[in-house]
Symmetry: C2
Subunit: 340 residues, 2 copies
């Protein structure tokens, strides 16, 4: 059996492009460009909690890095440097080769150097720390939403959890949309370019990893504001494609494991935001408004303007189950943890 | 049961002192001081692999951060910012409170802000990423050892694995020394001040987490040099205190989980190094010399100048057992993984 050092050399040591010192020392060395702040985020993915043990390792390699890329996208930061700590129950070289292929595919896509990490034996656990750069003072935070701002969302939230529902036999979708949903589940496309474009436009931003309502809740709490959302304005593909309306709505509003951006911006920025979305080919939809009264409170209106009970907003690994009537299991929550 | 968000607020959110944005957003924001490079390291500790499941959580909190502090010490970097990702099988508030107490005790001791992380459910796993600062171009690397350099070690390597041997009933020591060894095992004191003092003096440095010989091996390989070590020059407390000479030697040379520094320096720096050690009250001992021929090769001489077979140099989580005759188990390796 190869040593852990041979494993690292073989699977995880690649040339670095913008790093002073990469894999192989007690630590790595890097330097943000002049005028830049460093944005940094870490996410831990656990077998059986965040992914099914038999998940395709190449897809898992992509996703392990992509969920962190999404966190930096939500900060408006350019991802640059990653560290990977992983615990493996055994050395399965084919698995590792495929995992590394997916990881480096994501790294190459987003211009990220893998600069270090740790390899050990234990129950399968994948922990990436990702550093990026953002011009000083321009990072998108959760705390900047102001009364009167629009609430926007990118893409089609709910696809990842619908994809999981398909895999588990709980949903039936048109084949083309099912493929879309499975791609969203297995190979999420973090919105880096959108995050960069939103610097100076958005007042607050977050990625939807815990579910749309839950993540909007984080913005509301940290900004000390409220919000009204309009179900009729929501991206409608999930609702249209799934015969089980309750499941579709649950996935849309609370599915989690989506890596779209939810953000707020003053109405004066609408044209610029729409232009940015068009230029990138990303659907950006206004789904509601920020209000002042009742910090943290969230009203969801149906097509007739009636208030809907939003139920549980998303997934929490420790508080227990989702709202009654939801059949989404823990795996549906994907990387739906608190990124602190 | 409290939510993961409440857990984070309660146990892991503290005021930050030198951080732009800490816990609570998609990522944290920081900025190295002008002229500084960022040194970054990550270590994953797994229950059953790196620590006994019933380890005192306060000691574990300290150690979880301390092993990363040691990596930065070996770079000559000043630790500054930490992220903690943890997987917990269940929420045990008393355990978490004690763990956080130990973690923040270490953070406060070394002036570290906890700036973010991740909390999720899964088999107990603790992953810290630590960032520090080092003046541009002054980091201590593994690759700088040159023929003619002295080989130095700090403190008393072997204590942590002797401490474990005591716990497991495999060794009997004098009570005072046993307490020393248990403290080294449970509450390692990373050599930050020494690492800072060695900037400009040491040609290469590493911390002894995999075992003295194994970690010297990393320096030899990366520097393309060889070394001769003299057993008679080694810090002798372990050998003197333990009746089982084979076990004591094994712990001294290959025990791992020590967080002393092993470093090389030209003979012209001897006085400065000794002065630094005296000023800090840290024993610094010359144990050998670097040679040119046979990159990576290591000769260990006994008191009569006879070559000893060093056996296996240290612990590797995947290649299997230690040298024949060693009774050290996997736990003895502590955080003895490859830091990449």
């Amino acid at each position: 059996m190869p040593s852990e050092f041979a494993l690292i050399d073989r699977f995880f040591r690649r040339p670095v492009h913008h790093t002073i010192l990469g894999v192989g020392d007690d630590g790595a060395l890097l330097r943000p460009a002049p005028g830049m702040e460093l944005a940094i985020s870490t996410d831990m993915l656990v077998a059986g909690t965040h992914f099914l043990p038999d998940t395709d390792p190449e897809a898992l390699g992509w996703k392990t890095l992509a969920v962190n890329v999404s966190d930096l996208a939500a900060m408006g930061a350019q991802p640059r440097w990653a560290l990977l700590a992983l615990a493996l129950p055994e050395v399965d070289e084919a698995w590792l080769a495929a995992f590394a292929r997916g990881l480096f595919d994501c790294a190459d896509t987003f211009g990220i150097d893998l600069i270090g990490g740790d390899t050990t034996r234990g129950p399968l656990n994948l922990c990436v720390t990702l550093c990026g750069e953002v011009p000083a003072g321009q990072a998108l935070r959760r705390s900047g939403a102001r009364p009167g701002d629009d609430v926007w969302v990118s893409g089609q939230p709910g696809r990842a959890s619908l994809g999981l529902a398909c895999l588990q036999g709980r949903a039936r979708l048109a084949p083309a949309y099912e493929a879309d949903c499975l791609a969203a589940l297995h190979r999420p496309q973090p919105r880096v370019a959108l995050g960069l474009a939103l610097r100076g436009l958005a007042s607050a931003a977050i990625d939807i990893s815990d579910g749309l309502l839950a993540d909007l809740g984080h913005i509301l709490e940290q900004s000390g504001v409220s919000a009204t959302l309009h179900l009729a304005c929501m991206p409608g593909a999930a609702l249209a494609a799934c015969a089980d309306a309750q499941l579709a709505r649950d996935c849309l509003l609370a599915g989690g494991d989506d890596y779209e951006l939810l953000f707020t911006a003053p109405p004066t920025k609408r044209e610029s935001i729409e232009a940015a979305g068009s230029a990138m080919g990303i659907g950006l939809i206004r789904i509601g408004e920020i209000g002042g009264a009742g910090a943290g409170s969230l009203v969801l209106l149906d097509a007739r303007g009636q208030s809907l009970a939003p139920g549980r907003r998303g997934y929490d690994h420790f508080s227990g189950e989702r709202e009654a009537g939801s059949a989404l299991g823990v795996i549906a929550a994907g990387a739906a943890d608190e990124s602190r």
